[in-house]
Amino acid sequence: MTKYMQGLIVQSATVVIAVAGMFPMTGLTGMVSFGQAAFMAIGSYFMAILSSQLGVPLLLSCVIGVLACVLVSLMIAIPTMKLRRDYFALMSISLNQAVGALILTFSSVTGGAIGYSRIKKVPNLMYIALGIMVLSVFLVYNFKRSRFGRMSLAVKNDELASRSFGIKVYPLKIKNYVIGGIFAGVAGILYAFQTRIIDPSSFDWSMSSELTIFTFFGGTNSLIGSSISAFVLKIMPEYLRNVTVFGQSLQIYRVILYCILIIIIINFRPAGLFGEWEPTTKNLIALARRAAKIFRRGGDADA
């Protein structure tokens, strides 16, 4: 496998990790954040600066990066989670702006707009990234089926009713947001290892909205759906590199393509491509049966 291909796979894996982290928040609890890239930035910058400038061991600096994400997400969550969900969405966007501004302000440490490039090399990055990706999807999948996940679903559907059943809504929402921050931090660290240079513009709000778009494209109620759609949508534009429209590579139109796709989804299939489908044993057997039926019918037609 070429190095380029490996890099692509790592990038797609990071996106899947961040999207899986958004799932408890968006899919289960119904809060939409447009600022997850801010946590990617926080995690990666903390990791990079601690490990390269202060000589902290690599693994420890990764952990500190993730802890920083936890702290910041608590800071945002505590004042906003008691309010309407709109306030939360607005705050998440401002967070993204604020993190970018801080990176630019302290440019003597962070490298400012030029970017920070003294990032240590990690061997076998692709396997690590794929491993973390599988692990995080597995973890979040179990979240969905756990008591915690069911409580979150109840909050999404009716906050007042779930409160009357004894669910503590406010701490639950905070927890969901912090989970999202942790996964996004891990994704950011992997992203930094892959690109080996990070700058504020790679974590701006278009990155955040990209993550949200991936989640909704696959279906907010289907973890597997949104993960698959994130992986495919991230990797797809690379295959369109050689296709040209109006004399420009189709890659330039990447964001436009995403936007058109999601507008089609909103208008015609609001539940997302996968709806609520998850690969449970029952669903997989049903799928296999249907496939067998189609296959058999195809055989009959030939005969």
């Binding site: 119904g30 939409v32 447009f34 800071m75 945002i76 004042p79 906003t80 008691k82 309010l83 309407r84 969900r85 709109d86 306030y87 969405a89 607005l90 705050m91 966007i93 401002s94 967070l95 702006q97 604020a98 993190v99 970018g100 501004a101 801080l102 630019l104 302000t105 009716d158 906050e159 007042l160 009713a161 709000w205 278009s206 909205s209 949200t212 778009i213 909704f216 907010t220 420009q248 330039i252 139109y253 964001v255 436009i256 936007c259 058109i260 999601i262 507008i263 909103i266 208008n267 015609f268 609001p270």
Partner: protein
């Protein structure tokens, strides 16, 4: 620079934010979602205004440019409504989809503009014969003062429209409860469409002011929509008067922060200001709809 000078500049900056925030608050009060597509509309109309204004040998009167921007803003807002929101409304989908559609459309317009015109900053030609004048020791920029005056007139007209006319009353009714308003014989769909158009028209006017103030570049709209958004959060989501007061406050605070601490750190401090504000007074200056209705 004296403190009075800073205050006046802040108020003039706040006036532009107020126009954006009011468009924001109007849509929020009716459909209960934050319309980020407004940013895309501002960005695109700024380009329309720029190319209209520089297309002629002798530049046309700025009033004509504002009129053109206003019309194109309205048209773009109608297109955005038809593409993104009409079906969501018809199907009664959850409110999240409005928000998603508005973010997507904002991003779509911005990236389309970037692909077409590139990441270039286009300077809007100077409109006034004299760039500044002085009264009693204060040096005032002609541009800022004209913007302030026009904005204030516009806001007054808008408030009169909302509180004194028939369509304004209909808008307020739909904001309280769209279904009941419909039962009382108000055509909710038309009122909603009218609100979108009005917000688009305001975005058009704001875009010309912003182009004059900052010049034209692809992310102009999205960077400015954050200001309107902060203004309306401080004022209380969905309240017009709150949004106006909040925007003026934001303009003054921002001016002071930029002057004393520099412009690069200001977004972070504004976030801090907003967080503290929400902790102390979550409903904003005038807001009432704070918690999720179950």
């Amino acid at each position: 620079m004296g403190i009075l000078q800073l205050l006046i500049n802040g108020i003039s900056l706040g006036a532009v934010y107020a126009i954006i925030a009011v468009g924001f608050a109007m849509v929020y009060s009716i459909l209960k979602f934050s319309n980020f597509a407004q940013g895309g509309i501002i960005g695109l109309t700024a380009y329309v205004a720029y190319f209209f204004h520089t297309a002629f040998k002798t530049p046309p009167s700025i009033v004509l440019t504002i009129l053109i921007a206003c019309i194109s803003g309205t048209l773009i807002a109608m297109a955005v409504d038809a593409l993104g929101f009409a079906r969501v409304r018809k199907k009664n989908s959850p409110r999240v989809y409005y928000m998603l559609a508005s973010v997507t459309l904002g991003m779509l317009i911005e990236s389309a503009v970037t692909v077409r015109f590139g990441q270039v900053t286009l300077g809007f030609p100077s409109v006034f014969a004299r760039n500044s004048f002085s009264i009693g020791g204060l040096t005032l920029s002609t541009r800022d003062m004209v913007i302030l005056a026009v904005s204030v007139v516009l806001l007054v007209v808008l408030i009169l429209l909302i509180h004194r006319t028939k369509i304004g009353r209909a808008i307020r009714c739909v904001a309280i409860d769209p279904t009941t308003a419909k039962l009382m014989g108000i055509n909710s769909a038309t009122v909603i469409r009218f609100t979108f158009m009005l917000a688009g028209c305001l975005a058009g006017i704001a875009s010309v002011f912003l182009a004059m103030k900052y010049s034209v570049y692809p992310s102009l709209g999205s960077s400015m929509i954050f200001k309107g958004l902060v203004g309306s959060v401080i004022g209380g989501l969905g309240s017009l008067s709150g949004a106006i007061v909040g925007s003026f406050l934001l303009g003054i605070v921002e001016m002071l922060l930029v002057y004393y601490l520099g412009s690069s750190i200001t977004p972070a401090l504004v976030l801090g200001f907003m967080l503290v504000f929400l902790l102390v007074r979550p409903q904003g200056i005038a807001g009432s709809i704070v918690q999720d209705k179950a």
